[in-house]
């Protein structure tokens, strides 16, 4: 055996790593120093030192790391997963510990022989090894590694959280006969929580010492905790809007989550020692990140349920208050607007929802959203689609009026009873803004930058918001007037006292002048009753009448435009109306009546073979059947001439009697009374229903007809203006017309509407558009 061989033998004894093993042999420091001197004499220090690290690399690659990862090859159940991980870490740690001794000797080696490159070696042997250790470990990362780490910490968290819960709810624990431990899932008697906690703490300690805690577990820990937070928030807060949760959530995070994390990073202890700035920092960073995550999760949960919160308002106020707190920390405005719009659309704005419910939802949304954002900007942005949708529904005003005047789910009646006028509102608001300038806040950046003249201010009250569906209170009141007219004349199902009370409330709200017409309309109805009874008591009249007439006598200037349908009553019926008029003239002196024969309601008794029908029909229907009393068969043309009804409309009116089974169309446009044998076969049960349906026709001109008429009035002004001023741009025309309208009926229209109208006139060659201005053709 050569000297060199002997030296190598001794060297390997001191540094077993050179023989690719970490097996320790206990060697005294003198032996180590002796070997070093020998190597030094041979000039081999450097190469031995370096080969030691080469061998480390080899052992790590070939033995230690593969062994560690081998534990993760099979997909384990969570239980064995926990032990697998524990065992793997344990083995790894023992290798790691043994390496520490080798490293200690290498340090000594370096110091003793003052290796030339000593200055270059900035890092200690431990640091070099650590680096090597981690990089080799991670380079061989097993695919399902995160799952196993996840399983490990999940079990731990469950046990930890459970121990907290048990402390919190001792009184409950006694009531419950629990077979299994909530923490480890084993039968209560065989609970292994204690054991698991020990294993957990040891494993974390090992990982910590190997500087692997963050590298191996950091990512998974964050994921796990976030998942736990999400689950916890869902469990405790979902569907519960009448309580504030923020404090409890924050407490839960600070106690359970942060304590647990502290134990992981602080080697099993929940108390960080004063001097340990590093751990303190790590935990603090977690706390900040997780707090944000908690708020974000909670805010999103509330936002997702916001529709239900709206419906529950005001019971859900606390949830909204919580959301406000969250939104101060995290900007979720865009998400909120998007989600809210979507849910409103999905829940309210489709044909399956009736208008009253949409309106109720709208009112609740106003209240809830305004509670969230008093500036009104959010409200404006999110509810615009509702307004747009409601504008398209024909029964919206009816529902608003019903809502305003009747007890109901919308609370509008309550709001109306508060009876602040719009005017006062505007006034107060203006003053407020000046007085409270110190607390003024700018609009949020997503506020519409377009100034909104003439529109309800953002902070206007609920009724204004509802009325705003129609663009202005003038248009709204106009719709109300049409509705009232219809109810008074056609439906006749009104309760005068109630209508008057409603009107009084609306007057308080919108001012007397806008509702002046409605007041006259209602007065007409009550006056009519008095006039009627006076006329009935006029013996000159009542002795000579063929059938009883009652009438509604209207002040034409105050009612909306009537429809233009015509009807000439048979002479003998007209005579009766003349008698009534004569009596009226005698009573009222200098005044007379202009009858609107199309409108009204007639009760007929029709005698047929063996049976008598009593029906309520409209005057046109009555006149038609009256003629069939004289003659069995009529040609459409002939009847049309007598009744002064255009054939196309008359045909529709006759169809009423066809469905009643009294008249048939024998030949094209030839109508015959069905003979009495056939009649008896007709089932009369459906008659009342059809009759009612027909009754719903309006006595008033349709809204579009009225609009057209208004536009025609404006047309004559436009022609007048253009005659005077030659040519004008659309803005000027609009401005002028607005000025005229402002002194008149309260009719309003947008510039867009005007543009369409003018363009139509251009197409009709009644107007020329050139160079941005309109002028009349010469």
């Amino acid at each position: 055996m050569t000297d060199i061989d002997a030296v190598w033998e001794r060297t390997c004894k001191v540094f077993p790593i050179l023989k690719k093993t970490l097996s320790e042999t206990s060697v005294g420091n003198e032996d180590i120093e002796h070997v070093i001197r020998e190597l030094s004499a041979l000039g081999l220090c450097e190469s031995v030192y370096e080969s030691a690290f080469i061998e480390f690399d080899f052992i790590l690659r070939q033995q230690i790391v593969p062994r560690f990862w081998k534990h993760f090859e099979s997909v384990p159940d969570p239980d064995t997963g926990f032990y697998n991980f524990q065992l793997a870490v344990h083995e790894l740690y023992s290798d790691f510990s043994r390496a520490q001794e080798v490293l200690r000797r290498l340090t000594l080696f370096r110091q003793v022989c003052r290796l030339k490159n000593q200055e270059k070696v900035a890092k200690s042997e431990e640091a070099t090894f650590d680096e090597l250790f981690r990089s080799v470990l991670l380079s061989q990362l097993a695919a399902n590694f995160n799952d196993i780490v996840y399983a490990f910490y999940k079990v731990s968290f469950r046990i930890f959280a459970n121990s907290y819960d048990n402390n919190d709810q001792d009184e409950f624990a006694e009531d419950m006969i629990e077979l299994n431990c909530n923490g480890c899932g084993k039968e209560t008697e065989r609970c292994r929580c204690q054991e698991l906690v020990c294993a957990f703490n040891t494993t974390n300690k090992h990982l910590y010492k190997m500087h692997l805690l963050d590298k191996l577990a950091g990512y998974t820990l964050t994921n796990l905790i976030q998942e736990r937070i999400t689950a916890h928030v869902e469990e405790t807060c979902k569907g519960v809007f009448d309580a504030s949760h923020i404090k409890n959530l924050q407490k839960w995070l600070d106690t359970i989550v942060i304590n647990w994390l502290t134990r992981i990073f602080n080697r099993g202890s929940s108390k960080i020692s004063e001097g340990d700035g590093y751990t303190h920092n790590v935990i603090e960073n977690f706390r900040i990140k997780l707090s944000y995550f908690l708020y974000e999760t909670y805010a999103k949960l509330i936002i997702d349920q916001f529709f239900n919160i709206i419906i529950d308002f005001p019971d859900s106020q606390l949830a909204i208050d919580d959301l406000k707190v969250c939104l101060e920390k995290i900007d979720l405005r865009k998400h909120l607007i998007k989600t809210l719009k979507q849910s409103l659309e999905a829940r309210l704005l489709h044909p399956g929802v009736n208008t009253m419910d949409i309106l109720t939802g709208y009112v609740a949304a106003i209240k809830a959203i305004r509670h969230l954002d008093p500036s009104g900007v959010l409200l404006e942005t999110t509810t615009e689609p509702i307004k747009e949708y409601l504008r398209k529904r024909s029964d919206t005003v009816r529902c608003v009026i019903t809502g305003l005047t009747e007890e109901g789910p919308t609370d509008l009646a309550e709001e109306l009873a508060k009876s602040e006028t719009l005017k006062e509102n505007v006034d107060v608001k203006g003053k407020d803004e000046m007085l409270n300038w110190e607390v003024w806040n700018p609009d949020p950046i997503d506020a519409s930058p377009v100034p909104r003249p003439k529109r309800t201010s953002r902070s206007a009250d609920i009724i204004s918001m509802v009325v705003d569906i129609y663009g202005s209170k003038e248009l709204f009141v106009n719709e109300y007037r049409n509705l009232l007219a219809d109810r008074l004349l056609v439906q006749l199902d009104f309760n005068p006292e109630k209508e008057i009370r409603n009107l009084e409330l609306l007057k308080l709200r919108f001012g007397d002048s806008l509702l002046h017409s409605c007041e006259v309309m209602l007065k007409d109805i009550s006056d009519s009753k008095r006039i009627n009874s006076h006329i009935q008591s006029d013996l000159n009249y009542s002795n000579g009448k063929a059938f009883p007439i009652s009438s509604l006598i209207l002040s034409s200037q105050f009612w909306p435009a009537f429809n233009k349908e015509t009807l000439e009553l048979p002479d003998e019926i007209q005579d009766e109306f003349k008698k009534y008029t004569t009596s009226y003239e005698a009573y009222k002196g200098n005044r007379t009546l202009v009858w609107r024969p199309v409108t009204g309601r007639v009760v007929l008794e029709i005698e047929l073979a063996g049976r008598t029908l009593e029906m309520t029909v409209n005057p046109t229907q009555a006149a038609i059947i009256h003629y069939f009393q004289e003659r069995n068969e009529w040609a459409l043309e002939e009847l049309s001439g007598l009744l002064k009804i255009p054939p196309s409309i008359l045909r529709k009116r006759i169809s009423f009697w066809q469905t009643q089974g009294l008249i048939k169309e024998r030949d094209t446009d030839i109508y015959t009374l069905i003979d009495e044998m056939e009649q008896s076969q007709v089932d009369p049960s459906q008659s009342q229903e059809i009759c009612e349906e027909d009754e719903s026709e309006s006595a008033m001109a349709s809204a579009s007809d009225q609009r057209e008429e208004e536009l025609q009035v404006f047309w004559s002004y436009i022609v007048g203006m253009l005659t005077n001023l030659d040519s004008m741009p659309i803005e000027r025309i609009h401005q002028m017309l607005k000025m005229f309208a402002s002194h008149g009926s309260g009719v309003e229209f947008t510039q867009e509407e005007l543009k369409n109208f003018l363009q139509r006139k251009v197409r009709e060659y009644k107007l020329i558009y050139n160079g941005g201005v309109y002028h009349l053709p010469k």
Partner: protein, 164 residues
Amino acid sequence: MSLVSKMESKSSATSPSERRLHKELLALIKEPPPGVKVDVDSVGKNLQEWKINIDGVEGTLYEGEHFQLLFKFNNKYPFDSPEVTFIGSNIPVHPHVYSNGHICLSILTDDWSPALSVQSVCLSISSMLSSCREKKRPPDNTLYVKTCNKNPKKTKWWYHDDTV
């Protein structure tokens, strides 16, 4: 104009005289009589002061000329007559029209009737011009213009012969 006052002007808070003026304005814009044009801009600014352009009638001494009248109304209108003067650079040379624009016309003071209107006053003035046979100022023009009140309604008119 604040929102509040705008709302007030819209409602029945409008005075009776304003309502009547508005009706007249609409009628005048809708069916303007020949040669009479209301200056919509001026009226839009102030319903109490109207500027109206009238054209000299064809075949008269004033053919081709353009004049401007200023109507001032008070809130007693139409029970009180409007104050009507010629304004602008072209004051018609006429025996009943002073060079300061004042007009000697009885319906503007003593013979005013609430049944008269802006339109009928314009037509009266137009026909007064049309019936003129010689363009000249009133004989007392210089003295009157020096001494008169700014408001022609304060003048005690001795009405000139209508047949001038």
